[in-house]
Symmetry: C2
Subunit: 221 residues, 2 copies
């Protein structure tokens, strides 16, 4: 029997999943999950995850390695030979798309949730400002929910929740601000691990979001 | 644009996936994929995969590590403290069920297929003789197909094929015999890597299948 008050939260170390974690912390006991998939700023994201674990004090936390996404490549996040874009070209899926990444992440989360008997999975996917990633759409998560119902034990009842899915990035900042989400412990830059480059598409989206929300970014004091 | 003549085949080193590979080899160019997920006979299965690669000579092959299923545990295949069953209890999901395993395997296969531009994924799942695993049912694979359509690039067209799904294990042996599938290169035992134990549920299912099919098992000359 799954526990509807225990949630596996996918926490990358980025700002969206930080807000999703803060949202979940108001509702559920937390089981925080971080997946290292060979992205170029993996070490920094793991460090941020560790700090978020210290802050949120979840019931359980788990770090797993999924090196296959780097072996497979096909994305500028996992293959240094593919140029990192500085702009999001509207209507185009950018090179930062990691093929079917969210399905890989969700599969890990569901396996863990089934063993923990957690009844919720929370993922901080954001559609409006996600640059065309197919695995960030509400229909994708609905289909994933159906797969989970069919592919787990009958007594397992897991609901996938995407509390940020319809928000703009600025609204995510606003929600995080309301929830006192610890943005200072997060990382967004695709390229660097010492200081944000300020120029990659992710740095630009973050800066724009904080500016539009009228909230100061603690990473730029 | 996906190539409908190139198939990613999930090959565990077991007899079912060997037959599925032989089936696919008659139709497609092959990209053979093996996932080490920390099952107890991982080394033996990897050795069998290597021999199957030598035999089938695929266009590409890939071995990936997915250590998280062992970290997560919850199955007698990945946690030595959980007893391995000797019989399949009808109507019950046995302890060998690895939570949501097939979704994890498919997610890897889809990521690779999208990068390779392979238009087919072949998996040797068998429902009638699978002991109640929820992620071996046709409805599960239909839902997975929908998830793949929604979660990949618009130009990616991947079809998941389960050529053995409706067969009994004896019919799988018969099909493999017709296709000259190299059963001698496969492994089924859940427990041992030197010689099949003959007593675990998987050894028993294999013995029964070969006997019912009237085909000699090359592992027992």
């Amino acid at each position: 029997m799954s526990d509807a008050h225990l949630a596996v939260v996918l926490a990358s170390g980025g700002m969206d999943s930080c807000v999703a974690t803060a949202w979940a912390a108001n509702r559920y006991r937390l089981a925080m999950l971080h997946v290292n998939y060979g992205q170029q700023t993996e070490a920094k994201e793991l460090e941020c995850f560790g700090r978020l674990v210290e802050r949120f004090r979840p019931t359980a936390h788990l770090v797993v390695d999924a090196p296959h996404l780097r072996q497979i490549g096909g994305s500028s996040l996992t293959d240094a030979r593919i140029p990192m874009p500085e702009d999001d070209a509207p209507g185009e899926i950018p090179s930062t798309y990691v093929p079917f990444r969210n399905a890989n992440l969700l599969a890990v989360a569901v396996s863990w949730a089934e063993v923990l008997e957690a009844g919720r999975i929370v993922i901080g996917a954001v559609e409006p400002d996600a640059p065309g990633y197919p695995d960030c759409r509400p229909a994708f998560f609905e289909a994933a929910g159906r797969l989970v119902d069919l592919g787990t034990r009958p007594e397992t009842q897991i609901r996938i929740e995407t509390p940020l899915i319809g928000l703009t990035k600025a609204e995510v900042v606003g929600m995080g601000d309301d929830l006192a989400a610890p943005f200072a412990l997060t990382w967004s830059c695709y390229r660097r691990e010492d200081a944000p480059c300020g120029a990659c598409a992710s740095c630009r989206r973050r800066a724009e979001a904080f500016r539009d929300a009228g909230v100061p970014d603690p990473l730029f004091p």
